[in-house]
Symmetry: C2
Subunit: 200 residues, 2 copies
């Protein structure tokens, strides 16, 4: 059928740039839009074009933003004394959605990875250090991922905070809620065991 | 994070018009395009816009086509004597991909459904009857879906063919290949049992 319409074949192929979308689902998506929701398809085309062209990074926190300063940074009701440092906008989104955090963020857009050429400069750590020197922040929450590179990045961030005389904290590691011990990986379990806490 | 960028929030929302895409995957798709594949995102925007605006239906078979007559109908190497009637472009695609069929198609873009106001007119059955009258077609393969409405449509199509003196055939029903009998639904199994064939 794609053979009957080059434009349809092109649409099916272009849909495959979406994560998790293979040939079968791309075909289903394209046909469903054409058959039942051309308005939705047009709106998606326009939203994609606008987003790809106009979304850059906030000059203060490096999160996605089409404005010079993003809405989170510009929000006067958020606590200016706590700064949460994350690797990516997705991590920021996860924290916003799962927690009641009302402080500020700084997005590294990566993690220290000397082999890939990602050093402090690429992660905006000079800007972060300058921000810590401003004196308004009293706690820096380090929320990098629990991977080797994330841990190395966390270590570096900890030194930055300590140089600025700021308290640094990390997300707690441990057994995930609802997880069964026998299915928790060994290092998480060892960590949770070593960090056991007194029952009140 | 979507709170930090209205354009991103709009993109996440617009992505949900795609079948099978909920809020979580829409967010993942939007962020991945922004972080890693803006070229792919722009190409998708343009493919969507072109497809939604320019793809109509072939005047001969009603399949999707941006041209007056689609590439399948215009393909002189396909057998003009066999016509396969399907409900939707997706069914046509499934047959093209699964079988070696090299005849022509007619796409109903629906099925008879008096309650929804879908009658012979909406399914283009006058055009189909006219085509059968042209005298070139010797076999009409009825490939509507094995649903109540599909069966009613098949019945109607069979009468059209018979009025034009054309042999009508239907796809064989039976136990799916690789299926286990105990998991096959009862009516399929009953049908397969009743239609049992001699072993050669
Ligand atoms: Zn910001
Ligand atoms: Zn055609």
């Amino acid at each position: 059928m794609s053979a009957s319409s080059p434009l349809l074949a092109e649409l099916i192929d272009a849909l495959r740039c979406l994560p998790g979308v293979g040939g079968k689902s791309a075909q289903r998506m394209a046909i469903q839009l054409l058959e039942r929701d051309r308005g939705g398809g047009r709106r998606l085309a326009s939203a994609l074009e606008q987003a790809m062209e106009r979304i850059g990074n906030c000059s203060r926190c490096r999160n996605f933003s089409e404005d010079e300063v993003c809405a989170v940074c510009a929000n006067a009701t958020r606590d200016p004394h706590i700064l949460c440092v994350v690797e990516s906008p997705s991590d920021l989104a996860a924290i916003e959605q799962a927690t009641g955090y009302r402080g500020q963020y700084f997005v590294l857009l990566g993690r220290l990875s000397p082999l890939d050429g990602t050093g402090p400069e690429e992660l905006g750590l000079h800007a972060l250090a300058a921000r810590l020197e401003e004196g308004e922040i009293s706690e820096m929450i380090i929320a990098t991922n629990p991977t080797v590179e994330g841990e190395a990045t966390a270590h570096y961030l900890g030194r930055l905070a300590s140089a600025a005389g700021i308290r640094a904290t990390r997300l707690a590691h441990g057994v995930p809620l609802g997880g069964e011990l026998e299915y928790v990986d060994r290092s998480t379990l060892a960590h949770a065991f070593g960090g056991r806490q007194a029952v009140e």
